[in-house]
Amino acid sequence: MSRLHCIPSQTVGPFYHFSLTSNTTLGCMTKPETSGERIRLRFRLFDGDGVPVPDGIIELWQADAAGKYRHPADTQQMEPDPAFCGFGRLGTDAEGACTFETVRPGRTPHGHGGCQASHINVTVLARGLLAQVVTRVYFEGDPALSEDPVLQLVPEERRATLLARPLSQGEWGFDIHLQGEEETVFFEI
């Protein structure tokens, strides 16, 4: 059978709020019984002029605190945390910001015997983005950063764009610059 071709991507546009982001409980990824270190992760999304993007969507996908993804392709010999699904989605506000409540993920396998540093996978959608862009949140000060195989692919001077920084106890900040001098590293997946 000849291979089919995937449907092209198109922008999410400016008018999705009543559909994709109407359920704001998707910003709270934890339940009282969820295991692990609770964090609040505040995103800010900026365009190339440094202007906040007030009509963006941030989606998160992450492993649980033990490093297990709730997905059949994760064949590690452990059960995922039953109180954690790993998915979050919020729209940005007038300041380009949104805040998720989640747990710091555990380290996950790389696939070649190695181990990745704790990270959260991020999808960004917005008016003006004809397709989603994806990046990763790592955590500043994590001793595992130096051995993360994905970070090693990123030019050293740009790696800092992938680090969340502590704002206060339990709260981390991660700024996404779509363009400009501080442009965030995005990945081709």
Binding site: R3, H5, S19, D55, G111, G128, A131, Q179, E183, F186
Partner: protein
């Protein structure tokens, strides 16, 4: 290693496409860094995070009375590039009403809102990858991208598929829409055949006699390298 091969040039939009003005200050300027597919990309959110309600796939039954406009069925299959169905995956849609107006505070187009139409729907595919919505045909509407700019009638689609890589947000268009050649968003797909994949097909078999016209829209998501018997990574 790319377990899911990349699209060919022209089959996906460039991020920077100046005729669509909003891309100019929002498209990243640095090339994205190629990422080998790890467990982080080969897993992804499955549908269970948000249960689907009974009228979620019938946008004409979400209010007290019938919405205005031309009632339609939009149905199809969600497949991977090898033609294998993608079962039990979430499909979310949103659209303008028959007058071309969104239920959205930012949409100030002077066309009427319809108190009987919200324009948001969701469903999951069945075991064979089939999905089906009942809705009304959305109207075209003006926007301010350039002088006298109009969007062709379209329905937004959002799908997750089996993993983080297969995420797709797109727009479904209607056959023979005279606005499409003037629309920079759809024209950002430079490959004509790829662009036509976003256009639904009128399908008499999907119509409901004396009730609704039918449009077929099959959705192909990124698939793995064609090795059907390969073990999971």
């Amino acid at each position: 290693m790319k377990i899911y091969p990349l699209a060919k040039p022209g089959e996906q939009p460039p991020l920077l496409y100046p005729p669509y003005a909003s891309t100019v200050r929002r498209a990243p300027s640095m090339p994205p860094i190629p990422l080998p597919h790890t467990l982080s990309e080969l897993t992804g959110p499955l549908y269970g995070y948000n249960p689907v309600g009974e009228t979620d796939n019938d946008l004409t039954r979400q209010h007290a009375a019938d919405p205005l406009g031309e009632r339609i069925v939009v149905s199809g299959r969600v497949l991977d590039e090898d033609g294998r169905p993608i079962p039990h995956t979430l499909v979310e849609v949103w659209q303008a009403n028959a007058a071309g107006r969104y239920l959205h505070v930012v949409d100030q187009h002077p066309a009427p809102l319809d108190p009987n139409f919200s324009g948001a729907g969701r469903t999951t595919t069945d075991a064979e990858g089939n999905y089906r919505f009942v809705t009304i045909k959305p109207g075209a509407y003006p926007w301010r991208n350039h002088p006298n700019a109009w969007r062709p009638a379209h329905i937004h689609f959002s799908l997750f598929g089996p993993c983080f890589i297969t995420r797709l947000v797109t727009q479904m268009y209607f056959p023979n829409d005279p606005l499409m050649p003037f629309d920079p968003i759809s024209q950002s797909i430079r490959d004509e055949r790829a662009r036509q994949r976003m256009v639904s097909k009128f399908d008499l078999d999907l119509t409901m006699p004396e009730w609704a016209l039918g449009y077929r829209f099959d959705i192909v998501l990124r698939g793995r390298e064609s090795t059907p018997f390969e073990e999971q990574p």
